[in-house]
Amino acid sequence: MLMKNALEDRIAAGQDRIIAQRNMARAADIPGWGLDADPDNDPTYPMKHSNGADHERLNYEKAPQQPLDMEILHSIERPGVTRVFGTSTPPIGLSGAIRRFAYKYSEATATHWMTLILADRVDTIQGKLTDLMHGILPNPWVERGWRAEWKHNRAGFIGRTATTALLLTAGILLLKRKKKNKYQLSNR
């Protein structure tokens, strides 16, 4: 649906250069105006200042190899791990198995990335189970930031919670009705 009095109807046309000229006339008021201007920095023309490094592919100076003392998955678009790598959260459990599968495919494939997203969702469930095993109960009030919503967005928060509760109740009632129907059916 089109808005009446949209912003594009309210502005005047033909102003672009007039505004730019006016701004440039008072450029002294804008700290730093034009300080880094450079007519050569126009990427619509070639401009790279090559120093030849691009072709030193095999014999560049490499850092020592970080010891590989944990499972690190690496892209099949490179021969092995990089000289340095992160050691956060190695692949674990079912999500880990899914990740290992994903890393068999290149970064050009949807299989690689969509499988990783799937692994992330599985990992969330795994994380909840691990928490429970360690006696950590879900605490959405703090961990989902509901406390902050209560403080700064109370109306919106209550509205959303009420809608969710309503939907949940409706869903449960519907399920119950269905079960009853089934029962009646089998009774006949």
Binding site: L2, W33, D38, P43, N51, V84, I117, R147, N153
Partner: protein, 388 residues
């Protein structure tokens, strides 16, 4: 130690029982964090948009800290140095680093060849735990970490790890020429900086587009920009064409990235159905609002594998598209000078300061843009131990 612990989308814990990081490589340092920021990029992780974001990881790529320990091959950094740590992990000697592409190092991320190494940015960013914690492992410690200058404000220093250079590079890679009309999509921290720095390159007009009035108001003051709410337009492209004599802007900057709102089909296909990696609404508007032969600078983050993009218009209009992760180390000397000379005071964008313990609230507020938030800062309680 106390650190952020990711438990799944929209769910994080301030966890007191995280193991302290260790030196894993002779060029590593361990840093005790003094200030840390939450970035719009972290929201993509928080919302579950980045593949291979594992439960148990610590995020955070914008931090300053004090060196607590160094590996055997670290020569420049000393224990006790107070440093700002650029978000890129870079070896300094691969072909890309040699060309000053520190955001594209070849020796920092085994998991994804298309992506550089970053602190606390999923395994797609190299699998490093990040700086929303009391301590962090900092690889290649002699390459990027930079010792704070005497008299440099700590909040400006921590903004130099990402936001300031990123906003600057957004304007720089846009090839802005004197008198150019520059349109910036997004009035978050990155868009605000990009708009402000557009003037440094001699822009004639700077127009900022967003949907949050409080941020547009901020853009008028902080970035000296004309600022407009796309919710008041039928079609932002028509608005911008009319505003630019029906030619289009010389340059458009996409400082929104993969979670843009404003287009129903992009939102359904990108956010609800995950048929594309988030929404490419701002990029779409940028391509269509720029002049023929113009330049579109992508600084907002997009994820793999793909997005709906108007390739036909890019070809027919002869556009130049440029994008990259900011190369923080390359830009630091120039930007430190701009700050120390008082031409820009980046910390004006920090609106909220939280103790690290309250990190779940900080994420929620930044994600939902509550309480007129622009940039949230985290302060670990151990931060003040030695430099108060």
């Amino acid at each position: 130690m106390l650190a952020m612990n990711f438990r799944g989308p929209f769910q994080i814990r301030a966890d007191r029982n995280r193991p302290e990081p260790e030196i894993k490589h002779p060029m590593d340092a361990i840093v005790r964090v003094t200030r840390s920021l939450i970035c719009g990029s972290d929201l993509h992780l928080y919302h579950g948009m980045v593949p291979d974001t594992r439960v148990g990881m610590t995020f955070g790529h914008e931090f300053t800290g004090i060196v607590e320990a160094v590996g055997s091959e670290v020569q420049k950094l000393k224990v006790g140095d107070h440093v700002l740590v650029p978000f890129n992990i870079a070896c300094g000697s691969c072909p890309h680093c040699k060309q000053e592409l520190y955001g594209n190092c070849h020796e920092a991320n085994p998991e994804a060849t298309a992506v550089g190494g970053f602190f606390g940015y999923a395994h797609t960013g190299g699998g490093y735990d990040g700086g929303q914690a009391e301590y962090v492992r900092v690889p290649y410690a002699d390459v990027s970490p930079t010792i704070l200058l005497e008299g440099m404000d700590l909040e400006n220093a921590v903004l130099l790890t990402d936001v300031v250079p990123t906003g600057y590079q957004a304007a720089e890679q846009a090839g802005i020429q004197k008198g150019d009309t520059v349109v910036v999509f997004g009035a978050g921290p990155i868009g605000l900086m990009a708009a402000r720095f557009a003037w440094f390159f001699g822009a004639g007009r700077v127009i900022v587009i967003d949907e949050l009035d409080y941020r547009l108001e901020f853009a008028r003051k902080f970035s000296f920009a004309e600022a407009y709410n796309f919710r008041e337009m039928n079609d932002p492209v028509v608005f911008l064409k009319k505003a630019t004599d029906y030619f289009g802007a010389d340059v458009c900057i996409d400082a929104v990235g993969c979670e843009a709102s404003g287009h129903a089909w992009q939102t359904i296909s990108g956010k609800s159905l995950l048929m594309q990696a988030g929404t490419a609404t701002a990029f779409h508007w940028a391509v269509n609002s720029v002049k023929k032969g113009g330049i579109v600078s992508i600084i907002g983050v997009y994820g793999p594998p793909w997005n709906l993009a108007p390739l036909g218009s890019i070809m027919n209009k002869g556009l130049t598209i440029r994008g990259n992760q900011a190369s923080v180390k390359r830009l630091l000397p120039k930007l430190i000078d701009h700050i120390m000379s008082g031409r820009i005071n980046p910390k004006e964008i920090i609106t909220h300061r939280f103790p690290l313990e309250e990190i779940p609230d900080a994420y929620r507020m930044f994600s939902k843009k509550l309480d007129n938030i622009i940039k949230p800062l985290l302060i670990p309680s151990r931060a003040n131990a030695s430099f108060a």
